[in-house]
């Protein structure tokens, strides 16, 4: 080394506060040897590290087994770069390489986000960043199976992002190739996603293959899942999904018993959906006018029943009563109403009717009279102007019949255990509610009726109705007006 070069090195080192000295030959040799060992051992160590550690060097660069899965994951990238929230790489820096810890922080943030969004008053924009939060969590800790499954569940139900939910599960599937629960969950989610039955089947097959390969517990019977799925969707508040599934089965004539049961469910859910649409409209009217509408017709005149009409035209025509009413209208109106649209088999199918816009036209022309005569049982919607309550009469009848039956059973149960009848429905409800809280085994459909230990509220309570209870006999009477059979009539009779 020349003096000039040495001086430069010393000056540079001096700037950094470093005092340098040239190492001896023996030390240089030792350093070179150790450097070679360090560099060489890094190759096998890093190769093995890459195999065991799923830490993508680029976001979402984990290899996918199925091309469709990869396409799905590419689609989720939109969440990653569009918001102010930092992505995987920045959070990794911030946590000094502790990705898993950063994933915990994002996970906790997502829990807080869900609760804050529930309180948010910004309608229509809720849970906007939920998918992004879960995607970043999975980027940081791809093997966190619990977070993946729970996140996907929340995303599908609360966030109503069924596609995003499946994306998340696919991400987890790639990082945890031995887990059968993730493809199984993806299958269930796809079943709740109309039009994705093929995907569901593919994921279920993958779940079965993985479960078999692991030699562990098999996934629950997939057929059972398919059967209970509409109910699960309805319980989760996804009435649209429940209706889509139940409608497909209601139109399937191969198993009459299943068809009849599906129609019963369908009537209930459609009526519920229409009731919700009307209550929303009443709420919107209240916000705009500062008072409840005088009648449902005032809502129509104010042009606030568009959502209701749309749902009505799409859904209610599946029922024979409605079809019968339509046939009647056509007879009354004459040829001017046009031909009743029919499907390929000659029936006036709901799909043909909905697609034709016939129903909607009849509604708009005022020939068919919703909302007063439009629930899925062919019965009116009742409206209470003082409270703004809307009730489907058909649905109210069904609920009163069902609740009365449960109350009668519960009253008998109370008598058997206490050797007396309950003094009031309040006492009966409190006693059963306490048993529910204590985890005692009871019939499943009793739970929603007695939850919280309060007596059930009559659906027409706003109209002054209630469940009449006689403490002397423990009997709950069903008024005559509820003694009606709302079951489905034969389709053929109504097509005459």
């Amino acid at each position: 080394m020349t003096n000039g070069k040495k001086g430069l090195a010393h000056r540079a080192a001096g700037l950094l506060g470093v005092t340098t000295g040239a190492p001896g030959a023996r030390q240089a040799l030792a350093a070179a040897a150790l450097l070679a060992v360090a560099v060489l051992t890094q190759y096998p160590a890093s190769a093995l590290y890459a195999k065991t550690t799923v830490r993508a060097t680029t976001d979402g660069s984990v290899s996918f087994r199925e091309p469709e899965d990869e396409a799905r994951w590419v689609a989720i990238q939109r969440w990653r770069y569009v918001t102010y929230m930092p992505g995987r790489r920045w959070l990794r820096f911030a946590s000094l390489g502790n990705d898993s810890l950063a994933a915990d922080a994002v996970w906790i943030k997502s829990a807080g986000y869900v609760s804050s969004e529930f309180q948010s008053s910004q309608k229509g924009k809720r849970f906007e960043w939920l998918g992004k939060l879960y995607a970043v969590t999975m980027d940081l800790d791809p093997r966190w199976e619990q977070a993946c499954r729970l996140g996907a569940m929340i995303l599908a139900t609360v966030g109503e992002e069924t596609g995003g939910s499946v994306d998340l599960l696919v991400r987890g599937m790639s990082a945890s190739p031995d887990s059968w629960r993730l493809p199984y969950e993806a299958g269930v989610t796809c079943l709740m996603w109309p039009g994705h039955g093929d995907d569901a089947e593919r994921y279920f097959k993958l779940a079965v293959a993985r479960a078999r390969a692991a030699g562990g517990k098999s996934p629950p019977q997939i057929g059972v899942i398919k059967q209970i799925l509409p109910n699960l969707a309805a319980e989760a508040g996804r009435l649209d999904v429940a209706i889509a599934h139940a409608r497909a089965r209601a139109l399937d004539r191969s198993v009459p018993a299943v068809q009849a049961a599906s129609r019963r469910q369908l009537r209930e859910w459609v009526s519920q959906q229409l009731e919700d649409a009307l209550e929303d409209a009443v709420g919107a009217f209240m916000e705009r006018a500062g008072r409840n509408p005088e009648s449902l017709w005032e809502l129509r005149r104010a042009g606030m029943l568009a959502a209701f009409d749309r749902r009505f035209a799409q859904a209610v025509v599946v029922f024979e009563d409605s079809l019968a009413r339509l046939v009647e209208i056509r007879r009354e109106v004459g040829p001017e109403a046009g031909r009743l649209p029919v499907g390929s088999d000659g029936d006036a199918t709901p799909e043909a009717l909905a697609a034709s816009g016939f129903m909607h036209r009849m509604i708009l022309e005022g020939r068919y009279a919703p909302p007063e005569a439009a629930d899925a049982y062919g019965r009116p919607f009742l409206y209470h102007p003082r409270t703004g309550t809307v009730r489907s009469e058909g649905l109210a009848i069904v609920r009163v019949q069902r609740t009365t039956a449960i109350l009668r059973l519960a009253s008998g149960f109370f008598h058997r255990r206490n050797r007396r009848f309950a003094d009031s429905l309040g006492e009966l409800a409190e006693w059963i509610g306490r048993r529910i809280a204590e985890g005692k085994q009871l019939q499943l459909d009793w739970v929603p009726v007695f939850e919280g230990g309060r007596p059930p509220v009559h659906p027409l309570a706003a109209w002054g109705e209630g469940y009449p209870y006689d403490p002397a006999t423990g009997r709950i009477a069903l008024p005559e007006k509820y003694e009606v059979d709302l079951d489905v009539a034969a389709r053929g009779d109504l097509q005459k």
Binding site: T19, L34, A38, T53, R55, R92, S95, D104, M153
Partner: protein, 286 residues
């Protein structure tokens, strides 16, 4: 060299190491960092409460990260001033006046400091394992379908703690290297940033690959790819020693990977130490 000669040299190292350990053990900063580390470790449960039934996973994450981070902080705060303190107090002359070579002094300082770091992190690890065992027993957590959650304590957690020990071995050697050639503040800064950079070695590898290949239609630069590739190979790859992400999910590291990684950590620490000795040998003492 005879065995007696080796023994005599090691005796010198041992004497310096013993003194360094005692001196470091009296340092209040050490106890402050350990206390803070334990506090953070125990707070994992509090954070776990808001984690939707993921308490044990979060306790594991916070515990493992705390042991690593606070261990590195001990090396940083206690280690970077060790040699400079001897020089400032002129006590180094009394040491070097005895039959103790400069390299023995550096190696002794390193051994003493690493012993201190190891003792502190072993203590923290023990508290963490006991705490984790108690928390797992009290609230085992449950999976969505009732399947058994991964074992909270087990070989993967132990592996992660062992590799953290080797990570700290490397960080300590860096602290001694910088301490032997620079001021305490600059040594702390250099050690901290080398520690941080080492955690992102795999990102440098990715950067090298991107530079060589080019991104989104842009032409790549083989030169910068090679430069960054060399930086990746030469910088301390602390990322290799971080298996905490897999350990929390009870995924064990294969024995081969464990062995190669340990060899790497030992070789790299020895390399840094040789450089530290060489630089200190030639250093002009004030």
């Amino acid at each position: 060299m005879t065995f007696a000669g080796i023994g005599a040299r090691l005796a010198g190292v041992r004497a310096v190491a013993g003194n360094t350990f005692r001196e470091a053990a009296r340092d209040r900063v050490l106890y402050l960092v350990v206390a803070f580390g334990l506090l953070v470790l125990v707070s994992g449960k509090v954070i776990g409460w808001v984690s939707v039934n993921q308490d044990v996973k979060i306790i594991r994450d916070i515990g493992l990260a705390s042991v690593s981070f606070f261990g590195a902080m001990i090396a940083l705060f206690v280690g970077t001033g060790l040699i400079q303190r001897e020089m400032g107090g002129r006590t180094i002359y009394t040491i070097l006046a005895r039959p103790v070579a400069r390299w023995q002094f550096v190696v002794g300082k390193y051994a003493g400091l690493f012993g201190t770091v190891l003792a502190a992190t072993a203590g923290m690890s023990l508290v963490f394992l006991v705490y984790l065992a108690i928390m797992t027993h009290l609230a085992p957590g449950e999976t969505l379908d009732g399947a058994a959650p991964p074992a909270a304590l087990g070989w993967p957690i132990v592996q992660a703690l062992v590799l953290t020990g080797f990570e700290l071995m490397l960080v300590t050697s860096l602290a001694v290297l910088f301490s032997s050639v620079s001021t305490p503040i600059l040594s702390a800064v250099f050690t901290f940033f080398t520690y941080v950079a080492g955690q992102f070695a795999s990102d440098v590898a990715w950067l090298a690959e991107m530079a060589a290949r080019g991104a989104e239609g842009e032409p790549g630069s083989p030169f910068w790819g090679a430069v960054l590739g060399a930086v990746y190979r030469l910088m301390p790859n602390l990322d290799l020693l971080n298996v905490r992400g897999t350990a929390v999910h009870a995924i064990a590291v294969p024995a081969g990977q464990m062995a190669w990684t340990i060899v790497y950590a030992i070789a790299y620490s020895a390399l840094v130490l040789v450089i530290a000795c060489a630089l200190f040998e030639r250093r002009d003492l004030p």
